[in-house]
Symmetry: C2
């Protein structure tokens, strides 16, 4: 039984070690230099494969994504669709994203940006603290990641709402859904967090018209995909005061080009698509579990529905 | 019924408004200019009163602290002790502290300091993410504030321990206590958070000997009191690598003098004693409740025991 590790971004060694502990009988092959005979590859563990590349492995039983998003696979018009593709759903991946969301929500809620500016000047001054019950956080997307972040924000007593394709029932979270629910959701949101999947319905959702629905001086945090955002519209909203600040982890082009205006905008924080990185020792257990399922003739967990796009 | 508001640091207006809503019959007097007849004052709502000042009000029924700590009162050798003194315990005060603790724990756990440095250079690079189960957070102090922070850290899956005077039973938190428990507690702590009350037993607890018990490159977060720390020992630990970083909210002298080495140390973050500020509209309900209790002949909630010091 052979697995091909195919990623230009992820380090293979932690995966090789972690999978060897989980499935000693699995042979670990490394793309592009140690593939061996293509017809011997049973599983592909992949991140952003070159278009058409997976066609070269005729006996694949399943495609296993190294990330929660599968837009990097859906973008391949030649992706084998007669076999299941599985999203990564992992404790550490979810927890990492929740950490990132909590960190930036608290950052803006508690004016940590202003305190950092004061620190440079050795200035000692208080900014009045706002009751978290009076801070309206809005999550675009209430899937695995959005719902975990929502629960933790509720536990911290923020006024939390979420928007998703279909209505969701999460204790303490006001649910908005569908096209009609978007404007009222945005109108009550001080801190907007994007955790949507990338689909034809969500592409460019952060545009001029939707940004105009937010209250004055709102904050935007994007930890989903760069293509959710119309960059010129976001920059205009920052410059006209509709948005007071943004933290962006994802971009149309990654790495973000060194001369992109986001890097030096005074009210933008750029992070290098690190909101949640895959932790091999944790995620390997999930991958091994999915391989065992396929070997038993079952579908892997979190098989992608390419109709909804996630 | 008259209440004297006595603080050189807190804004009186939000308190005047919030208490008028809670207790319309209460007359709000403002120290030092609008005290009126000292013998008419029933309650003193105070932060850092000048030593001896409270002796001037012979008919006080209770002293109500504007903060969770009462070292600012215990320091007054002439403090009236025949009437109860009450600590402030308030939802917003607790939540604010928990926000601060979570923010800085995540900051160091997720290398946000290194990412901020990269941002200045427009550099795009990942730092491997650590499973929160493998990050050992240690809380000095498990009172109202410490136990709430501990619970929220447990919910985020950190490996959490606490040290306190007496053993505590908080689900998911390893409890250490007493003098013998301190060294083993420190030895297992990567991120140390101080939330202790200031007493003769806790003064200068962050000293050379105790810092030497920590693992190499630990992190220290102080949101208790400056006097918990021996500054020279802390600076030495930062310079010899025992500590990799510190976030300090409290200091021996506040405001921290503009030329203090903490301000410009590359591995120290200074915040201006803002970890948790009192939110008047929330805390006023607690103060009003305590006044009603005393009027009914009961002790106020959270009456200070000056033997234990909290």
């Amino acid at each position: 039984m052979k697995l091909l590790f195919l990623s230009a971004e992820d380090r293979a060694d932690p995966w090789r070690e972690a999978l060897a502990e989980e499935l000693p009988e699995l042979e670990f092959k490394l793309w592009p230099d140690d593939v061996g005979a293509p017809e011997d590859i049973d599983y592909a563990l992949v991140w952003k494969p070159p278009a058409g590349e997976l066609r070269n492995f005729p006996n694949l039983k399943a495609i296993l994504s190294l990330g929660a998003g599968i837009d990097h696979l859906a973008a391949d018009p030649e992706l084998p669709t007669h076999i299941p593709t599985s999203r990564l759903v992992d404790r550490c991946l979810t927890q990492g994203m929740t950490e990132y969301v909590l960190y930036w929500v608290i950052h803006y809620h508690r004016h940590m940006n202003a305190y950092a500016d004061m620190r440079v000047r050795h200035e000692w001054r208080h900014i009045p603290q706002v009751d978290p019950k009076r801070r309206r956080v809005g999550l675009l997307g209430l899937g695995e990641l959005g719902s975990d972040a929502a629960e933790k924000l509720v536990a911290l007593d923020y006024d939390v709402a979420g928007w998703s394709r279909t209505a969701k029932d999460i204790p303490g979270v006001t649910s908005f859904h569908g096209a009609d629910g978007l404007a009222p959701f945005l109108a009550r949101t001080d801190i907007l967090v994007c955790l949507l999947p990338m689909t034809d319905q969500t592409r460019a959702i952060i545009n001029k018209d939707n940004l105009a629905q937010l209250p004055e001086a709102a904050v935007f945090i994007n930890c989903a995909r760069g293509a959710h955002v119309v960059d010129d519209d976001l920059l205009a909203a920052l410059d006209n005061g509709r948005l007071s600040a943004a933290t962006l982890d994802v971009f149309h082009t990654e790495p973000l080009p060194a001369d992109h205006p986001y890097w030096s905008h005074p009210n933008v924080v750029v992070t290098p698509h690190m909101a949640s990185l895959t932790v091999a020792h944790s995620a390997a257990a999930y991958i091994a579990d999915n391989i065992r399922r396929v070997e038993r003739g079952e579908l892997p967990l979190n098989t992608v529905d390419f109709q909804t796009g996630y």
